[in-house]
């Protein structure tokens, strides 16, 4: 079976992995010159289905809870299983209660337990929610490493404008995200920035709740911290706005004052593809399969969607999966 995958983001690469491990002949094409720069490249890389349940439907939890295992198996050593810490400034303590009411899979912890988990946050917060089962990875390293692994498995990659013109394949898989221009698909702009400092160390993603501007800080190797992300109903991909920089930096500073002295090494903008219900879809249209609408859950939901799409392509989906598809 020859499969042509359009789009080398997290959806395309996870699908390539699912197909290649089952013996399909896979080619991945992308209009970009390289992987860097797509929406997946700007992701936080949090595998946090319990936290996401705060604003997402149950489906995100059920589809996402296996993600950390998938990534660990596909890329050993990349997944950090240190959980997620959720905190709120004292005046927004009500936000922590609300977050707790809407989620599960956490322990409410006190100042002492916070200090034990994250010594650098000692004394800053009196209580927090700790989601011990959650994990995170560095999305950029994961994408590059996965591409490398796929090449070794015999998957062909073809980049650039000339690569995307039609070529023969038994099945085409459209994983082009917002550029796919599917009916009902919209863009949700996300802006982020990367700070560099050796004065703060965090072992896990920390979410700082705020009624207007909830922000997360994800530690990466090399003293880097990804701070994200805005959610704006727009598919404009232009540079980050001054206001967004202010808000993200302000939140990082509120989490730890040393972030005020950090180097601002990068800002980025990505356009999340989303359907009206903010849930992902796998659709079949003749010989074309489409995975889209991963919204803010790319690394979290791509494995489950890739698994489903691969089963459709290879004709191995279970009765249950078929029934679920018909339901959609």
């Amino acid at each position: 079976m020859k499969v042509l995958i359009r789009g080398a983001g997290v959806a395309g690469l996870t699908l390539a992995h699912e197909l290649a491990t089952r013996g399909a002949s896979v080619t991945v094409v992308d209009i970009r010159r390289q992987i860097a720069g797509n929406a997946s490249w700007q992701a936080g890389g949090m595998l946090a289905p319990w936290c996401e349940r705060e604003s997402a439907e149950e489906t995100v939890l059920s589809l996402g809870r296996g993600a950390a295992d998938w990534w660990s198996a596909a890329l050993p050593g990349h997944v950090m299983r240190n959980g997620t810490l959720v905190v709120a400034p004292a005046r927004d303590a009500g936000e922590l209660d609300r977050f707790g009411r809407r989620t599960s899979g956490y322990r409410a912890i006190d100042a002492e337990a916070i200090a034990a988990l994250e010594p650098d946050l000692e004394g800053s917060f009196t209580r927090a929610l700790f989601f011990a089962e959650e994990a995170h990875l560095d999305p950029r390293r994961a994408l590059l490493e996965l591409q490398q692994k796929l090449v070794e498995m015999g998957v062909r990659f073809d980049f650039g404008y000339g690569a995307v013109h039609s070529r023969s394949a038994d099945v085409e898989a459209d994983c082009t995200g917002i550029t796919g221009r599917l009916t009902g698909l919209r863009g949700v702009r996300g802006e982020m920035l990367i700070l560099k400092t050796s004065e703060v160390a965090l072992a896990r993603p920390v979410r700082l709740l705020h009624p207007r501007i909830p922000v997360y800080v994800v530690p990466r190797s090399g003293n880097l911290f990804m701070v994200g992300a805005t959610m704006i109903e727009s598919d404009a991909a232009g540079p980050i706005t001054a206001r967004s920089v202010l808000e993200l930096l302000n939140a990082a500073y509120a989490l730890h004052p040393a972030f005020g002295e950090a180097e601002l090494v990068e800002t980025g903008t990505g356009i999340r593809p989303a359907f009206a219900d903010n849930l992902p879809r796998v659709e079949r249209d003749g010989n074309t399969i489409r995975i889209n609408g991963l919204y803010r859950h790319g690394f979290l939901l791509a494995p489950a969607m890739a698994h489903k799409a691969a089963a459709m392509i290879l004709g191995t989906e279970t009765e249950k999966e078929r029934a679920h598809e018909a339901h959609h």
Partner: protein, 257 residues
């Protein structure tokens, strides 16, 4: 029927479109609430009106009237510019005017508000000013051309409900013929019913629905509470008394002792 700048509406709930878990839930909530007017932030929801087309067309498909707002504007100039952009993007003269005086509490800058309202009213805008419950400011807003007022009942997003009923009563008493819409601070349907019972014409809210456990059910609850409050106001609520009054004759007791 309520008339706002020549436009008749039967629902007295105006609903915001921010902070919902998804656009699909927002659309369902709007429908469940019965709201005929929704507010849209040009700046934060549509990235300056540059695009955001899909979100915008979803709102349009609901058949509701759009009240664009100038949320996030901190100066008269910003607010006026944003209002003009909103007129282009949304094709309406309606504008919910917000001039923020304090970044943290989002309290309106009433001085800038009056100034911006004057400029916009002169340019043919139908201004819906988001103001405090201050009586004098309310008078100034009407002087410069506003035909309705939108006082807060508590700080925005605080969900605390009416903090100063006397001020709200005073506004109602002084401006009996001006449409008065409580905007900001409502947390629960009972808060909305309370201000409607005072004779307020409508209620505008967003967070209380969007961030509820079940936004669609809460939207419906607000729709009912607002209707109940209005009906109660028209029915003439009983005055409160200092002590119990039996509703049946008290026979055989020294009732007048």
């Amino acid at each position: 029927m309520l008339e706002l700048y020549g436009h008749q509406v039967s629902s007295r709930l105006l609903l915001g479109t921010a902070l919902y878990p998804s656009p699909a839930i927002m659309a369902e909530a709007i429908t469940a609430s019965g709201a005929e007017i929704v507010t849209v932030s040009l700046r934060r929801e549509t990235s300056g009106g540059k695009t955001g087309g899909k979100f915008w067309s979803l709102i349009q498909s609901l058949g509701v009237r759009v009240l664009p707002n100038t949320a996030g504007c901190h100066s008269v100039k910003e607010a006026v510019t944003t209002a003009k952009m909103a007129r282009e993007v949304f094709g309406t003269d309606w504008i919910k005017l917000e001039v923020i005086g304090n970044h943290d509490t989002l309290q309106p800058d009433v001085f800038g508000l009056v100034e911006a309202a004057k400029i916009l009213a002169a340019e043919g805008f139908d201004v819906f000013p988001y103001t405090t419950d201050d009586l004098v400011v309310a008078g100034r807003l009407l002087d410069v051309g506003c035909k309705l007022l939108m006082p807060w009942c508590a700080p925005i997003g605080s969900a605390r409900g009416p903090q100063n009923l006397d001020a709200l009563r005073s506004l109602r008493g002084h401006f009996p013929d001006v449409p008065l819409i409580v905007d900001a601070g409502i947390g629960r349907p009972s808060h909305a019913a309370t201000v409607m019972e005072l004779g307020y014409d409508a209620v505008l809210l967003n967070t209380a629905v969007a961030k509820a456990g079940d936004p669609v059910a809460m939207a419906s609850a607000f729709g009912k509470a607002i209707e109940a409050g209005r009906q109660a106001f028209r029915a003439g609520p009983l005055e409160a008394r200092d002590m119990a009054v039996p509703s049946t004759p008290v026979i055989g007791m020294a009732a007048f002792s």
